[in-house]
Each structure stands twice: as structure tokens, then as C-alpha cells.
Assembly symmetry: C2
Homo-oligomer: 399 residues x 2
């Protein structure tokens, strides 16, 4: 009962799974600063700065752009419970775990999800959304996942945004695995509600959910018939907590996490979004070339592959759990397996934020070569690194 728990010293890990991603030492250090009160004028200034920087990374002028006090999943729930009222029809693109989760939350709001399904690994076609909009009666919203973390699919959004405007439906986008890693244009693409998590391409520890809402979305919330079913995630209350002129007490924000997010956003501004996106593309290309040489071929539809979450199909002989355990135990490298029906069939390799770096790609490919040679799935050392090198040579830039 009273056995003492000792000091915690985590083994160093290279985090190349579906999140969390590696965190920059400056971000880790930021969390060590002493706390301010959450209504201290200095802390209110920090909240403002975070809002400003989040607007830049979301590419939006939305006044309501904040970091929710919960993880990415809380962001999904907040977007849906505030916008969906009992009886509302919501078209949901379902081509992976996170689309399914959206549909399930719509149900918990008393809404009616209209599932537009696509095979896991393929995008949801704008045409399919178009037909669903034509078929259904009035639709409150269309919800899709920009970056399906379960499959590695990169969903195009612009055309769906235009359809939403034509049908006066709100456009809800899950940007958990895209924000800060690939182009996302909240305003230009007509997105009304967009949420993310901090532990992916923003390279901050998990615990906060960036969320932005358009004026259309806020109007829908103001016009609700009944209050939102969640008090904790009620945007009408949270807005007053984050609004510069009010700062009405709602809950106590996770202060140290906000210190971390501020520093992570500063790092993004120093790098620049375009350079950051190019970096994500480059290292993904090098990784996929190396994996291809090992016989691990892309799972997601061609032309729609995420640079932040690289999904590859396992050849029949490769034992998923055994190899991932060896990677973790011998090399300290974490990668992700498949979820749901894809368990044992897929690897999901995250190159997000700080994890998207040449040395990490090379470390993983080298470790996989060692293991694949040991298991006799390949016969020549160097093939994966060679393939990756060709990409890096072709690029010619210095990382």
C-alpha cells in the first residue's frame, strides 16, 4: 500500500507515431516557468498573443480563435456540441476512425449524421458530398477530416467549402494532423469551424485544442434553441473568458500548457509556414522512398497522401507487433500501427513538426534495415537509406 514511487526518468524516445510528436527543448523549457494566475494581466496578454499567432497558422481573421482546455478530441466535441442541435442533419465524411467518431458525436448531440462513406485510404469525393446535399433536406453542417490520422489521407477541402456556401451549410473541418504541417486556409476555403490538437504538427505536448469559429458559426450558436449540452465546452461561455474586454471567469486555463503553446507557435513563426510545409513534404518524400525500397508501399490514394502521417501497407511476412516492439525496445523509436480493421496491416509513421527532420528519417530507415535484415525480409543493407538519399540529393537544400 505505501510502497514509494520513485523519481521518473523517461527513456529517450524518437516519436514517429501518430502523435505526440517530438517537442523542441525551448517548448519543454517554457513549461518550467513559474505560474501566473489565470486572470493576471500578464497571463491575459499571453492569451492574446496565442490568439494572434493561432489566427496566423489557421490563416483566418476569425475573432474567436482560441486554445480549448482539452486535447484534440475535446476540440472535435466542442465544434460539434456547440453547432449541432437535436434534429439537425449533418453530412459527415467517413473514411477512417475520425470521421466515424464525428458521426458518433453528432448522434450524442441528438443530430442525424448523414454518413458519406469512402473506403479507408481514399478521400471523400466532393461529388459524393454534392449528391448528399442534393438528396438530403436542409443540412446544418458538413463535417470532414482534413488529415485522417487513421489512414494517412489528405482530404481536399476547397470544393466542399464552396458547396457548403451554396447550400448554406456550416463547414466543419478536423485539422488535428494538418494544422502547422500542411496548407490549411480557413478563410479562403470557407471553413466555419476548425479544430486541431497541439501534439501533432504544432509540436507541443498534448493537452490543448486550437479552435477557430467563423461569424456564421458564432451566429448559429447565438441562435440555438437550448443551451449547448456541455458546460465545459460551451463556446458562448468560453468566448467571454478569452475576449479581451471581458475575461469572465469560466474555468482555470491550463497555464503551463499555454506557456508551451506560445513557444511552439513562436518557433513556427520563426521558421515560416511555407518553409515548414516544404520541410514536411521533403522528409515525407525521403521516408516514403526508403520505405518503398523495403517493400512497404503507400496505403493512401495517390495524390492524396499526407506528409505528416505516412501510412504504408505491411507485406504479409512482416509481423507488425514484433517489429514495432523491437523498434521501441532496441532503438527507442515509436511508430504507429493500424487502427480498427487495419490493425496488423498498416504502419502509420508521423513526421510532424520537430519529428519531421532528416536525422529522424535516417534513424528510422537504418533501424528498419537492421530488423528487416535480421528477419531476412531483405538481403542488402543500405537500400532504404540509399533511396532516401536520392530524394535528399535531388532536393539540394540544407536542412
Amino acid at each position: 500500500m505505501t510502497e514509494r514511487v520513485g523519481e521518473f526518468v523517461p527513456t529517450p524516445r524518437l516519436l514517429l507515431g501518430p502523435g505526440p510528436s517530438m517537442v523542441h527543448p525551448r517548448v519543454l523549457r517554457a513549461m518550467g516557468a513559474p505560474l501566473l494566475g489565470h486572470l493576471d494581466p500578464e497571463f491575459l496578454r499571453l492569451m492574446n498573443e496565442i490568439q494572434q499567432m493561432l489566427r496566423r497558422v489557421f490563416r483566418t481573421a476569425n475573432r474567436f480563435t482560441i486554445a480549448l482546455s482539452g486535447t484534440g478530441s475535446a476540440g472535435m466535441e466542442a465544434a460539434l456540441v456547440n453547432l449541432v442541435e437535436p434534429g439537425d442533419a449533418v453530412i459527415v465524411g467517413v473514411n477512417g476512425v475520425f470521421g466515424s467518431r464525428m458521426a458518433s458525436i453528432v448522434e450524442r448531440c441528438g443530430g442525424k449524421p448523414v454518413r458519406v462513406e469512402a473506403s479507408w485510404g481514399r478521400i471523400v469525393e466532393a461529388n459524393a458530398i454534392k449528391s448528399a446535399l442534393a438528396r438530403s433536406g436542409p443540412v446544418k453542417a458538413v463535417a470532414v477530416v482534413h488529415a485522417e490520422t487513421s489512414t494517412g489521407v489528405h482530404q481536399p477541402l476547397e470544393e466542399i467549402g464552396a458547396l457548403c456556401r451554396q447550400h448554406d451549410a456550416l463547414f466543419i473541418v478536423d485539422a488535428v494532423t494538418s494544422l502547422g504541417g500542411l496548407p490549411l486556409e480557413v478563410d479562403r476555403w470557407g471553413i466555419d469551424a476548425c479544430y486541431s490538437g497541439t501534439q501533432k504538427c504544432l509540436s507541443c505536448p498534448p493537452g490543448l485544442a486550437p479552435l477557430t469559429l467563423s461569424e456564421r458559426a458564432l451566429a448559429a450558436i447565438r441562435n440555438r434553441k437550448a443551451p449547448c449540452q456541455s458546460w465545459y465546452l460551451d463556446v458562448s461561455l468560453i468566448a467571454d473568458y478569452w475576449a479581451e474586454a471581458k475575461r469572465a471567469y469560466h474555468h482555470t486555463a491550463p497555464i503551463s500548457m499555454l506557456y508551451a503553446l506560445r513557444e511552439a507557435l513562436r518557433l513556427i513563426e520563426e521558421e515560416g509556414l511555407e518553409a515548414r510545409f516544404a520541410r514536411h513534404r521533403l522528409h515525407s518524400a525521403a521516408l516514403m522512398a526508403g520505405l518503398g525500397a523495403l517493400g512497404l508501399l503507400p496505403f493512401a490514394e495517390e495524390g492524396h497522401r499526407l506528409p505528416s502521417l505516412n501510412s504504408v501497407t505491411l507485406p504479409a511476412q512482416v509481423e507488425d507487433a514484433a517489429v514495432r516492439a523491437e523498434l521501441l525496445q532496441e532503438f527507442g523509436i515509436e511508430i504507429g500501427g493500424g487502427l480498427g480493421a487495419l490493425q496488423g496491416k498498416l504502419w502509420r509513421i508521423g513526421l510532424m513538426g520537430e519529428s519531421s527532420a532528416r536525422e529522424h528519417v535516417l534513424s528510422l530507415l537504418s533501424a528498419l534495415e537492421v530488423l528487416f535484415l535480421r528477419h531476412k525480409w531483405i538481403s542488402r543493407p543500405g537500400i532504404a537509406l540509399e533511396a532516401a538519399s536520392r530524394i535528399y540529393a535531388g532536393d539540394g537544400r540544407k536542412e
Copy 2:
């Protein structure tokens, strides 16, 4: 638009408000450790250790004892949305902000709150709960606040726990400002659902909500007619994420925050709960003696005053906002004002966890003496420190 946000260096603060409390350097340092994946075997071990240590501080053998990925308010919402189904009657003790909030969340669950009101500053009498139980038809639960952060009232629980058993009602307790600072006996007092926040007497940054549920509570959740309205806070899903045998992916836990909580709980075990409670009582007594010498008299009912949250009434001449601003700007000390109807009439001084220390009590009393002399509300320096010293001298212990 592209103005750069500079490095963040918070001004040192002495946090004596209603939370966050001061955080030990070991806890701050714990957050700086590199991240593990949230399904890494090492991280799963850490989750187990946190569960063990939380059981000890809650004084419970409840299997379901975890830290929710949200702040204390998320803990309140989780307890209620999982246990309250549409149509359920729930007796709620309302004698401050947090009791009112509970009643409002019961409504958002479709439940029927039966408010048992008491004046702010007074406890909710067990007899009043008894009458409400006798008056009402079947009642699903009784919910009360152990430590009303808005008033400083310390609510007795044991008798209400016994009433709940007699009426087969679940007993829900808000322990946000008590857990780790004053005696709380979840099992002995028959509490079925108890939640807290990390940023109060546990002296950890805000961001997590410890939550424990009895087998009776879990059975009520299993027997729900419809799924919980929240996906993020659905205990049936969260239980599988924290259960050692399953570890089914639900969301990504706030890893760095859990590092912090583990270290904060270790500090509590090193001190011992009884010693910790005695420390909270001692410094509260010294503070209240000093405040009394300044004319600031206790607000909460005698015999039911919290040592963790000391509420005092302001004499008419003392200007609330001006003095609190001076305290913050000149002395770097944060204390809390009154909420709601008590705004401008009350101060709330938190002595929770690391904030409950002799040097902090002395610093605050000294600063208040300076300001009260300046405003000519007192005429002799030293009166508050002298009164506090008498308590410390009488105690005879060394802190």
C-alpha cells in the same frame, strides 16, 4: 500582422488566490522531461502509479481512479454527465458558485435539479438534504461541494453520505479545493463520485481533474439507457483507456501534465497526508489571526471554515480592486476577490499546497500592513504580523 512575439518571462508571483497555487520546482522540472508516447509501456506504468497515488490521497480502493484530461470543471461535468440521465432528479446543495454550476450542468443533462439552498457563507445542513430526500420521489443522486471556493465554506459530508445510502442515491462530491489539503474519506464517507482539480491543494499546474467512481457509480453508468452525451468525458470509454488490461485508445492524454501530477503526488506522499493537513490548519490560523488584526473578519460560518481558502469580509472603507491591484503590482502577490454578488465585498485567500507556508503568510500580512497604513486604515505597523506570530509561537512547531 507579422509583428514578432518575444520570449515569455513571467514576473514572479506569490499565488495566494483561489488557484492556481504555487508549484514546487520539482513539479515544474518534471514537465520538462522529453515526451513518451501515450501508449508507450513506460507511460502506461506512469498511469498506473498515478492511479495508485490518487487512490491514497482520495482514501479509496476504487478501481476507477484516474486523472481526466481537462481542468477541475471538466471533472464536475464528467461526474454529472455520466451519472445523470434525462429525467433524473438530483438534489444539489447550493450555497455558492460551484453548487449553482452543478445544478446548471444537471439541467444540461436533462436532469431535474432539486436545489437545497443555503446562504452563501453557510453550510448546507444535512437535515435540509434529509427533508429534500423525504419530500422528493426517487432521487438519482445528491451532489454537494466539499470546499466552496466562492465562499470558503467547509461542508461536512459524513452524515449526507449515510442519508444517500439510506435512500439508495448516489453521492457526488466536488473536492476541487479540498483534495490533498484537508481530510477527505471517499470510502468511509460513502462517496460514489468525487472529482478535483490539480491546481489547488495538490499544487500542480491546472489541466487535469482527478476523478474516482465507486462500483455503485460504475454500475449506474453501465445501466444507462442511452450513451453519455459527452464522448470526450464518457467514463465507459475512458475506463478502457486507463485499465491496465486494455489500454484501448480513446484520446491522447496530456503527457507532460501527467508527469507533473506524478511528481506532485510524490511530494504529498513524502510529506504525509496528516502532516499536510496540519500544515494547512496552522498557516490558515496564523493568516486569519493577522487578517483579524487588520479588521478583516471571517466570512464563512464558524466551525466550517476552510484552511485552504480563507474568506474574509472587507470593511466598508477598504477598496477591493485598488488594494488587490497594489498587492499584485507592488508586491507581486495575487489574492482573490468575491464572485457574483460578493464582488467587492470579500477577499478569498488561498493557502493551498505549496502556497500554505509561513513565509507566504508573513509576506502577505506585511504587504497588507504597508497598504493599510498608507491608506490610513490602520495606524500601527506590525499588528498583523504580531497576531500571526502568536499563533506560530503557540504552535511551537518548526515549519
